[in-house]
């Protein structure tokens, strides 16, 4: 055992990670207070509702992004943290829908869920919860009035599909996400697609007989907008 390298090797990613950690905690407090504020203010005119919606959406986006940064840091610097067990997809989806309930309400979105309550599958409940949350938050940004979440087994794989009635994903993002993360980073468009990268990493940690989990983006579907699909073997 050695005691060296404890402080003197603090590289930039470590500094960033601990700073992100700190920011996340502050933001957690902020989100909590915001939630209280919305809860307590009885008179909700439309303008106020809209402002609350924006506040909450943006704060929750930052929060999600920070969590993803931390998770990715861990995936790259520490042991693979995946803990796969048998779970009910309906539970994880319902929980994430409940988590974003205020957001959907503020945006005036109706969300439907199609999932057999007895459906069970194997995955890391924490990591996958993070992915679904992040896709829901993203979807809520582009959806006009509707979103739909469905889960089912197809070809011996769990397929979770999150679709909306927005304008859909831009063409260059469509298809199976195979291209490297770097290609999809676009600072000029203000998008790092960190969420997608995170989703890809998490899904990729789910393997069975050497088959890896994967993600597919398309447009159309029942609602006519973006369709996010993840496949877990």
């Amino acid at each position: 055992m050695s005691d060296k390298n404890e402080n003197n090797n603090a590289d930039f990613s470590l500094i960033l990670a601990s700073s992100v950690h700190d920011m996340k905690n502050s933001l957690g407090m902020l989100l909590n207070s915001l939630e209280d504020l919305i809860h307590e203010s009885t008179e909700k005119d439309e303008k106020q509702a809209q402002q609350f919606g924006i506040l909450q959406y943006e704060a929750s986006r930052i929060n999600t992004e920070l969590i993803q940064l931390l998770s990715i840091y861990r995936m790259q610097h520490e042991l693979s943290p995946v803990r796969i067990d048998e779970n009910f997809p309906i539970e994880i989806i319902e929980e994430q829908l409940a988590r974003n309930d205020t957001l959907f309400e503020m945006r005036g979105l109706s969300v439907t869920l199609d999932c057999d309550e007895d459906l069970c599958w194997y995955y890391d409940i924490e990591l996958l919860g993070g992915v679904i949350h992040n896709i829901l938050v993203n979807g809520a940004r582009y959806a006009k009035t509707k979103m739909k979440v469905s889960a089912a087994i197809e070809n011996d794989e769990l397929v979770i599909c999150i679709s909306d009635d927005g304008n859909g994903y831009p063409n260059f993002m469509l298809g199976s996400l195979q291209q490297s993360y770097a290609k999809s980073v676009s600072f000029s468009e203000g998008s790092t697609h960190l969420g997608l990268y995170f989703a890809q990493q998490v899904v990729g940690l789910h393997t069975r007989n050497k088959v890896k989990g994967r993600i597919d983006l398309s447009n159309g579907g029942d609602l006519g907008g973006g369709v996010f699909k993840l496949f877990l073997p």
Partner: protein
């Protein structure tokens, strides 16, 4: 912009729970705001009895007075115990029933993995911010499962394993929604009952669907239970490489190595386990013990040092870790450890505050003084060392009868450290005599005797040898064996004594028949001699002859 106020979120409420009225809940957080918010949420769900606690101590007090169904506890509770230590103590002191749910609340989701590597795992993790809807979904789910499994848990509360097993088997047969949880529980109960075949069948069934880590560990436990150490070890090593956060695998692997007598691999496994779960006091302390046994003072000192630090606020704090830290720190100097001086300084501090942290009896006080005396001496503080030594010499006269073997060996080490070699040797040989019938004590003394031995001891062994040969010539082999056995205890590296012992044992077995215990002793004595000599040694031929004779007896008796 038009806002659609019509919301059709499907309120499926699949596993909605309707029994909140009977749920007794406890909220633990140092922030008033959080306790209020969550309390209000639980009120809204229908909970009638909701208590709150501002810190761990208050929470534990509540739990001693009332049995809660649900505890929501924040991880970060300010200066005292943290949430994990609260959980640890509630479970360890059985303040929670088997069916009680403990939910850990933390500020970041990535903490989960860190937390789950502790000694005790909560039933679920919640990440702040908590919204009412999320909390309800989660509680609905957990409480519905708890309600279904309640009869089994109630059996477990009264240690009625038989019925718990039957109920779990029935539930799995009926394809309960919670089959997976029942299987996990059933496997553990069957293992506990020693029903290895049934446990194996349960795990096999799970593994047919998926190579889940817990079922693989269960399978390894079955193998371990059957004494198939090699297979168990092979599997566990593989599980750890696939699931580096599966702490149960490390724990079972440690046990497997311990049972197979591979103390070095046991230490290595504990070393990797504490790297994954550095906050686990029990694993740190086991690592200390394991390394100390292997004479690896560097690893032991660091592990004990962490155990002492983690012991603050923990119900698993143990005075043993504090004393051991002092003891192994002395050995660090002999190993030339670069941090020897720092750790010695730390140990002195720990020993100084021993009286503050624990109720000490006189003997432990003396023991602590011995260790301090050695540490001062090693650090070059001759003045402090000799002052303490003077105090000790007086105390030893009064106490010598009532000291434990551990303290007595500390005294030997103190004498050696202060260059009082003759006194050390004579005290040591007195100890060997005193504990001649105490194998455990003798094992500890043996370790000291591998040091170059004094004339006093040589004379003693010569005397015992002569006595033993006398009995042998008089064909009184049993007494002869006793003499050589005692001689071997005193002089564990003495070739002649070992060979004499084997010869006496051989004679005894020829006369009265083969005996497993004698055979084991003979074989291990021969093995020891083999490690000590080669063909040039003047007793080598005698060794070969005795070895052949033992082999003949071994063959004759299968």
């Amino acid at each position: 912009m038009v806002y659609y106020r019509v919301r059709i979120i499907l309120e499926l409420l699949v596993m909605a729970f309707h029994g909140y009225g009977n749920i007794k809940a406890l909220i633990v957080d140092d922030f008033n705001n959080f306790r209020m918010t969550v309390g209000k949420m639980l009120d809204e769900f229908g909970c009638k009895e909701v208590d709150s606690a501002v810190n761990g101590e208050v929470a534990l007090k509540h739990c001693r007075e009332k049995s809660y169904d649900l505890v929501l506890c924040d991880y970060n509770l300010g200066s005292g115990k943290n949430g994990q230590q609260v959980l640890e103590e509630m479970r360890h002191k059985k303040l929670l029933n088997k069916e009680s749910l403990f939910l850990m609340v933390s500020a970041e989701s990535s903490m989960t993995i860190v937390l789950s590597a502790y000694d005790y795992a909560p039933d679920a993790y919640l990440t702040k911010p908590i919204t009412g809807k999320t909390l309800q979904k989660r509680l609905d789910r957990l409480l519905a499962q708890r309600e279904e499994m309640l009869p089994v848990y109630q059996c477990l509360n009264t240690e009625n394993t038989t019925d718990a097993i039957k109920m779990s088997q029935q539930a799995i047969k009926n394809s309960s929604r919670y089959s997976s949880s029942y299987q996990k529980l059933l496997g553990e109960l069957l293992l506990k009952n020693g029903d290895l075949d049934a446990a194996e069948a349960v795990y096999k069934q799970v593994l047919e669907a998926r190579p889940l880590d817990w079922a693989q560990v269960g399978m390894a436990k079955v193998k371990l239970g059957r004494g198939e150490f090699e297979t168990a070890i092979k599997w566990l090593v593989k599980i750890i490489s696939d699931f580096p956060y599966c702490m149960a695998a490390y724990d079972v692997l440690t046990e497997a190595y311990e049972k197979s007598g591979d103390t070095e691999s046991m230490q290595k496994t504990l070393e990797s386990a504490v790297q994954v779960s550095p906050m686990s006091i029990l694993r740190q302390s086991s690592l200390g013990d394991s390394a100390a046994k292997n004479n690896d003072a560097s690893v032991a000192a660091r592990a004990y040092s962490r155990s002492v630090r983690l012991g603050k606020n923990s119900c698993h704090d143990d005075i043993k870790n504090h004393i051991q830290l002092g003891r192994v720190s002395v050995d660090l100097f002999a190993e030339g450890d670069s941090k020897a001086d720092d750790l010695a300084k730390e140990s002195l501090k720990v020993l100084d505050s021993l009286a503050k942290d624990f109720d000490l009896d006189k003997r432990v006080q003396v023991q602590s003084k011995m260790l301090k005396c050695q540490l001062y001496s090693k650090r070059g503080d001759k003045k402090q060392a000799s002052d303490l030594f003077a105090e000790l010499a007086d105390a030893m006269d009064l106490l010598s009868a009532g000291l434990t073997i551990e303290a007595e060996l500390d005294w030997v080490n103190t004498l050696i450290t202060l260059d009082k070699k003759t006194d050390a040797d004579s005290f040591l040989s007195d100890l060997v005599e005193k504990y001649k019938d105490d194998q455990v004590a003798l094992e500890r003394i043996d370790k000291m005797l591998s040091e170059p031995v004094s004339d006093v001891n040589r004379k003693k062994v010569a005397k015992l040898n002569k006595e033993g040969i006398g009995y042998y010539s008089a064909k009184d082999y049993k007494l002869s064996v006793d003499c050589f056995t005692r001689a071997k205890r005193l002089f564990p590296n003495h070739v002649g004594v070992h060979l004499n012992l084997v010869q006496a044992l051989l004679a005894e077995m020829k006369e009265f028949g083969c005996n497993d215990e004698y055979m084991d002793v003979s074989l291990s004595a021969l093995k020891k001699v083999e490690s000590l000599i080669d063909a040039r040694h003047d007793q080598f031929n005698r060794f070969l002859q005795l070895k052949d004779m033992i082999r003949v007896i071994e063959r004759e008796n299968g």
